[in-house]
Symmetry: D2
Subunit: 384 residues, 4 copies
């Protein structure tokens, strides 16, 4: 019997952590096979050449597309999206998959969803129906309008997708596949402290408390990133605790943030801030668990932190509207506000755990549904 | 005082008929100026080089973009959409308009809306909220998710846009700008018959009754166009009345329809079928008024025909779900069904007129709103 | 032992006739395998979907690239070339061939040569070193500067390539692979007349004399094509002999020629001119042999006609400088000049045969050299 | 009288230093006007946003094109070239210049020359006919085959262009426009030492001797850059003199060099190596004059150094074949060879000056020729 061919398009590390257990489940499912297309910042040294992590995990990468126009501004972001459509069209036409799986709300997500829908290939969308800031908000809902099957990560998201006019029988609340990784990492978390080897830096005092900072650009506030991150930097400088800071992802405005961090570090030569170009998902989970507070505007952090009760200071509008646990405190861009919030969260300590985004079986559920689903119509029609 | 700069992107003749009175109203409005970007099939000889009609109407075309990848199949449709994004990004960045106006549901509509939204330029969408078949259905609602201001053509459409989660204060029912042209053409309609000069063909018997056929490809049924149009052709052959037939627009599948028509005409050498490569909007209105029946799946025809009560036979799924008057009869692809419906409609004769899509002031209303609107936020957020 | 992987990129029917015997020889060579990438007008219905001829010949097409931007003018020609580079880069990087074989002087030839050279893949160029008009003249010599191995079709061409600064040991005079097909078709030529079945048109009087016309646009005289072809059309109208006419290839200006032919035929309704959208190479050879005269500016015709001694009237600048036999008479664009030349050539009748472009073993020679050649350096350096 | 419109396309700082005096001369010439299109690494922060230097010099930038696909490998280099063609086609068609001026041998140079030639716009090429390594060698001579007017920088180059089959009357030896800047900088050179302010770094001991290092990737040796630069780094570490080092330009392989430098500096924490992201041309001239030795493989350095007699150690194949003065010593990639050569050159001291590339009036000569030249034919034809 011919296997159903599932084409997965992934563009960056955050997306990959949402599709890894799906890939695993497809590999084990006799009725399915996957085609993996890697695109976007996975292929860029600046973002850690994360395609190598996929290979190390034992997955085959079938195609690589360099689509990122350099510049990290709104113009190059749009061009990169258009470029991705052009190349994906040729590849999807060549592979002729039964489904194209797209993830979250990146501009490459839009490119993949548009291309597949134009080619009359059913689109399955993981993690639609959420609410956030930046252009991601528009992309996510637009992708919903091109998708034929929806894998929401929470019941609230499922309801929102249905409200958007999608046929309820094709909208599933399966939880978030990133949660699968999180809950699987449980055993590792028994240890009370990380080692320097695990943390891959001999200069960090692994026994001492630390905070984690991860702040991305807000595309709809392009040009503000420099001063936005500066406020955060002053706050963590004043807070004075050992800090692990990750470079932002590639989006319009990334360069402003990178430049601001570089100049700040050069000027103040702070010895207790440690920059990481890229970390594996499993190290990220460790950090998330062990840190005293997560600061910034990362979706991964906010979503996953509720499972540990790790205190979070969420800065600015990027996650505006996103579902979250009680462990998250929102704050604007002022350094004093941020500092105050960090102090409050660190002194509060760990919150009770909450399971907002599933029970750790999202990957398997998605593969099961893809292998058994029937009755998908290429021609979509709004329900009202 | 600096004028608000309104960038309009138009891709084909059907779109142009929906933006012509908007352009006129912008030209007269002291607070506005327009930038006109012409793209897509406007620039193709095969589709009548319709950019020349725009120039003849006295408008300045600021930029022309050749973006159509030849092939007229789903792959080239996707590529053409991606290509348009790339070039529009450079041009919109250079012109820096205050608004980008996009129309209906073409793939270039999506390209323009995506590009503008990525560049943080507010998007105004004319004619969102409608329901139809083909990939247009997905494109239209996706464009709604990128648009900041919505100019719906009917109250039902306005309600649907609001249901899609758009902020009600930015959703306006202004009617359809194509109706403006229709109602303006009133005086011409006093005459009972067309002349051969008006109809631009000496061989047509202008005094005799005729029907009009306009059938486009259905992108989501790619590969079926050849046999679909054949059914229509057999029906009109059997019906035997003088027929004016228009070539289809450029979309995945156009070539199948064009080939089928060519072969059919060569085989049966029917002397009472007259093919038109391109006709002006004003001639189209005349034909629509004077014909005994309009047959096919064109949106222009279905929407505008209700103002005249011209009988319409609507074939297949392309207009599935679209709002229409009582003058429209739906029918599947079989030749006998089509023939029967044509006979019934022609013998019924003209229906009572209905004003579904506005009163003829849509262009002016749109310009007024664009010149006075305040409080648009680049950062969109769904209302639920 | 690992086979050498030879990637062949072909864009149209004329090119394919120059690479068919190369493909055959590679297929038979134990040390070689081919990857066939089909691009350009091979994939366009308008140009006969000639990729199907390749499939009918039993070759595997590994990849298809739609790269033609519609418009057939200088702008879209440039864009199509750029587009081809982008997509070929991804594919060549994926296949990692040992050689890329490029043919003659099309814009896709340049795209393939540039891409391969940039990727440090050795480029083999078939049919460099010739001299003609149009942009082909610049493209051909530029491709020579990117090529590492040169398969010239004549000794004069070989000498010219060496003069261009190429290393003599990598410049081979192998003859023209299209000649291979020509000489192989010998047996068919025993018959004195063609049948209507062979000629695929029941209306042609196969026993009566006929001429063949094939006139392409001259890209460097863009805008002149309409009047240029009109002169030819008037001449053949006045000459009055049964005429087989082929549509031109896709290049800037094709549409002007197509339009002129259409209007001329509509106006004069000549019953003895038969248009062919696409003919197989073997039928073309038959026509070339049996016709009383070949008229136009096609390279294929001029090159191959010398093997039959068929009289040729070569019009305008397109083949300016190209090597040819004594059977070719050059003439400018005037209708009277053309008519006079046709009359003279038809009354002269068949010329003595000349073997200018090889003995019919070019394909085998090229495969042999590719399988045994050593010492190619990716880093080229001019010899003076 | 209508001015001749000269479109200049420039991609990076090295090119700009070769066109600055041309721009000045065009600005002063009553018969000429310029259109300036900025592309490539001029627009990238990583390469110093050098478009700002152009604006500071008072020139108008008419259009900016983001065309660089991120990745800095052969695939993205090819794609970036194709991308540039696509966008230049639209812009050149819109501006309709009388000439397009292209510079040296970058991939954007090829893109601009191809596009203009396809659009039947005469191409003027500055600095053809030279001989070097890398893909630049092929690009340069290919651009010659698309160019209609040639501005060679030396008599040897002029002769080589003619040998390539170009019409001698359109090949001019005008010298190198970068030399214009060099000789104009004379007065500044009266001072014996640079100040820290001039050198823009308070940590450099401006009175102490220093060397300058500038080493670019070799595209045809892609993958070797990391170890190549390491050899150089070990040599300068051992030499021990104060060192000013510039980051390489954007080309396939840049990232390898950047990474190697970063890791080397991190590992050895050398306090006497000063990295510069970007320096103005005038500071570069100062450094070139005052340094004890220039080390690396930069063309700018090698060409311009002869005017000062500054000792140069030229490493590897990148400048293989390039014309140079007696002040240049060639050496392979070994650290001991490099160290030995540096020692020898520093102890030798300043060489006698040589004027290889003109007398400082190249910009004016080029503008004069462009304003007066006649008889250019768009249709090129090789001279043999």
């Amino acid at each position: 019997m011919k296997k159903k061919r599932i084409c997965i398009v992934t563009a960056n590390r955050a997306e990959y952590s949402r599709v890894k257990t799906v890939l695993e489940a497809i590999s084990k499912n006799q009725k399915l096979e996957y085609i993996l297309i890697v695109i976007g910042s996975h292929l860029l040294r600046k973002y850690g050449n994360t395609y190598r992590e996929i290979e190390r995990d034992g997955f085959t990468i079938h195609e690589r597309i360099y689509n990122t126009i350099e510049g990290e501004n709104p113009v190059t972001m749009a061009k990169s999206a258009g470029f991705a459509i052009i190349e994906l069209a040729t590849l999807l036409d060549s592979y002729k998959p039964d489904f194209v799986v797209v993830l979250t709300d990146r501009y490459e997500t839009l490119s993949a969803a548009v291309t597949a829908a134009f080619l009359n290939i059913p689109v399955a969308h993981i993690q639609g129906g959420e609410v956030t800031g930046t252009i991601d908000e528009s992309i996510r809902h637009a992708v919903t309008k091109f998708a034929h099957v929806h894998f929401a990560a929470s019941e609230a998201s499922r309801q929102r997708i249905i409200k958007l006019g999608e046929t309820p029988e094709f909208v599933f609340n399966v939880g978030c596949p990133a949660t699968d990784l999180l809950l699987r990492a449980k055993i590792l978390r028994q240890k009370e402290v990380l080692t320097n080897e695990e943390i891959k830096n001999p200069h960090i005092k692994a026994n001492d408390p630390f905070i984690v900072v991860l702040q991305h650009p807000v595309t709809t506030e392009f040009g503000e990133g420099y001063s936005q991150i500066e406020e955060t930097l002053y706050a963590i400088k004043d807070f004075g605790m050992q800090t692990i800071m990750l470079w932002p992802n590639v989006d319009a405005g990334s360069e402003h943030i990178v430049t601001a961090i570089r100049r700040f570090l050069e000027e103040y030569r702070l010895r207790n801030i440690f920059m990481y170009r890229h970390i594996t998902n499993s190290l990220f989970i460790q950090l998330l668990y062990h840190c005293k507070c997560l600061i910034g505007n990362s979706s991964s952090g906010i979503r996953e932190s509720c499972y540990f009760g790790t205190p979070v200071v969420n800065i600015g509008t990027r996650q505006h509207g996103r579902e979250r646990g009680k462990n998250v405190v929102d704050v604007g861009y002022g350094r004093h506000l941020i500092l105050k919030a960090i102090k409050k969260q660190v002194s509060h300590g760990r919150y009770p755990r909450e399971n907002v985004f599933g029970k750790g079986d999202a990957g398997r559920k998605i593969a099961d549904i893809l292998s058994t689903i029937n009755g998908i119509k290429v021609q979509k029609i709004i329900t009202y």
